[in-house]
Structures are given as C-alpha cells and as structure tokens.
Symmetry: C3
C-alpha cells in the first residue's frame, strides 16, 4: 500500500547563486519514512531558487555560477527591476530556467543517485535568505 | 488511501513565446479533487511548449522572452527548418530546454507555491495554437 | 488501488551529446505493467546525462547539440577539469542544465505524448558509456 508524507528542509543561504548540497537531508527523510520503494519530490516555494543535480566538487561550484553569469548576467538591468527596483531580475530568470521541482526515485530505502551525483538547491537571490523547501515522499 | 485523477486544461495562445498563467486552473482542479495532500503533474503533449514557474508580473513577461531570444534566436535558420520548412526550429529548441513537465506538491488542498510564484505555460510556436495540457493529481 | 514498480533501461551510447530515443522502451514498460492511469518517472543516475522531450528528427538532432555547444562549449577549460583532469566539465554543466528527471503521464496504458514528441536521453560525457536509467511506474 502506498503512503505520502510531506516534510520541510530549512536552510540559511548566502544568496548570489549559493549552491547547497541537500542530499543528506533528503536521504535522511527518506530513511525516516520507513518506505522502501518510491520517489521524493523536492520543491522550492519561491521564484528565485532552483533545484538540480551535480557532482558537488569545488570546480563545478565555480563553473555553474560562471555559466549562469554568462547567459543571464547579474549586472544587467532587467524589466523586472523597473517593476520592483530590487535588482534581482537575473535571479528570477535563472530560477525560471533551472526550475523549482526535482524528482528522485528510491529503491531499498536509498535514493538512486549516481556515486558522484548530489541534489543541490541554488539560491539565486541577491541577498542572504532563509529558505524552506518542501519534500514530499511517496512510496510503499 | 491514495487516488489518481487525470484532467485537461484547454488554452488558446498567441504563440511566439506567449506566457499564460495557469495557476488558477491547476488550483481549481486540485480543490475539486477533494484530495488534501499530494502532488500535481502538469504535462505538455507536444514539442513546442514548456512549463515552469515565475513571478507573473509585466517586467518578467518581457525579460523571459528576451532572454530566450538571446540564447535561441527566432530569426536564425535551424536544421529543423530544412526538414519541415515551418520556420519554428527555435520553438523546438526552447521547448527542449524548458521542458514539458512540472510537479507541484499540495498540502491542505493548496499548492505549496510561494506568494509571488505562478505556474506558467509558454507557447514557443510561431503561430497561435489551441493547447490541451494534461493535469494529473495524486493524493490522499 | 495504486501500485509502484521500478525498472531499468540499459543503453550503450557514443557520448559527445549523443541523443537516444527511449520512447519505445518506456512505452513497453508501461504496457507490461498492466497499469492504466498514472505516470512514469525516468531518472539518470549520474551527473553527465540528461532527459527531455523533442521531435526526434534529423534536423533537431543536429540543432540541439549545436545550441548546447554554443552556450556551453566543449573546447573550453572549466574549473572541474582542474579537479579531475578528465576534460568533461562541459558535460557536467550541460547535465545540470537539462537535468536528470522527467515525468510523463499515461492514460489508458499509453503515454500522453504529442504525435511528434519523443522522450530522449542525452549522453553529454566525452566518451562512449554504458548507461542504466531508472524507470519508475506509478498507477492504478
């Protein structure tokens, strides 16, 4: 029989495309659920953060922000900034691109990630933020 | 006990990276399902549309198309256009990038979106389209 | 009553942003499950591959790699390459962008894809790889 449970992960970030490895938190919630087979949905409530996976190593932690800076520069003026004057138009665009949802299956109570693959939350906003991510676990 | 139901949202768009806020439609379907805790999968059947979330305000409604125009210009000739001669190669690339699926959790019968976060469908095609999105609700 | 089952798809790829149409494999697993209504989660365990949908035709099979080459060039030196010296920093960035998860609903035992829409796995690594994708089917 399948079951659902919904949890939160709380984070303090530095903003400015700060990348946080949330794999241990997600794996711990899956383990605590006692479910063996299913999937976990992680979701960012808010429009200046995103989720993806990456090999969490110092080189890529510089490469990914540099790539995003190249295609969506932080120093440019965006129309969004004319609306709110908070200077984070680029953060909204990066979040729309990287997106707020990620699904990861688990089998035998363990996430089916690769050995060198971590789940990351990226805070694109232009200031430190307190974040609360939604983690929903489905399984049997 | 968990339940599934599948619905559709019908839309008429102007094409040309037209952005439509579908949050009220999705929230209404979740409310009508009577389910309290679960998630909703929204899916675009077709290869020239995509889904993401954004703060739906006039500035970003200009910024997002301008960004996509910069990295995937509509005026360029793509190999796809040599195949079909319909001139929408850029629409296919934008759709492959933004992707056709989005998952949003709900708790207490409400989507766990941020206050300034809306679910958007983007029609990348180069002409007005009638679209039928799939909305699948899972929950208890 | 809802049921879950987890499967794998095994692939040999050429690497170098090789695009593989996995739609027949996914559809076959859904058909074999006997489930009528639900969704399938496809997931790449590993940080140099990604999933999306596209019209699988020769033009776009050239356009998509050319687009990725433009925004994340393979010939550039990335910080990741300073860490591991395996020269595939660009593959990691492309995978973080395209992402490892894709959800597709099915109804009446059939994926709700558009007529010209295929599910693709893209191998971004810089060498041929053997890949094992996770396919999890949920439904009733």
């Amino acid at each position: 029989m399948t079951k659902i449970s919904t949890h939160t992960i709380e984070l303090s970030t530095q903003g400015h495309t700060h990348i946080v490895d949330i794999t241990p938190d997600v794996q711990r919630l899956v383990a605590e659920s006692g479910l063996k087979e299913g999937h976990v949905l992680i979701f960012v409530p808010g429009s200046t953060g995103g989720l993806t996976t990456i090999e969490y190593e110092p080189g890529l932690l510089r490469d990914l922000p540099e790539f995003l800076e190249e295609i969506i520069p932080s120093g440019r003026r965006y129309h969004h900034d004319d609306t709110w004057h908070d200077g984070n138009g680029y953060a909204h665009l990066r979040a729309a691109l990287i997106q707020p949802d990620l699904m990861v299956p688990f089998v035998g109570g363990k996430l089916t990630l690769g050995t060198w693959q971590q789940i990351i939350f990226i805070d694109f906003d232009n200031r430190p933020r307190h974040r609360r991510l939604v983690v929903q676990i489905w399984g049997q």
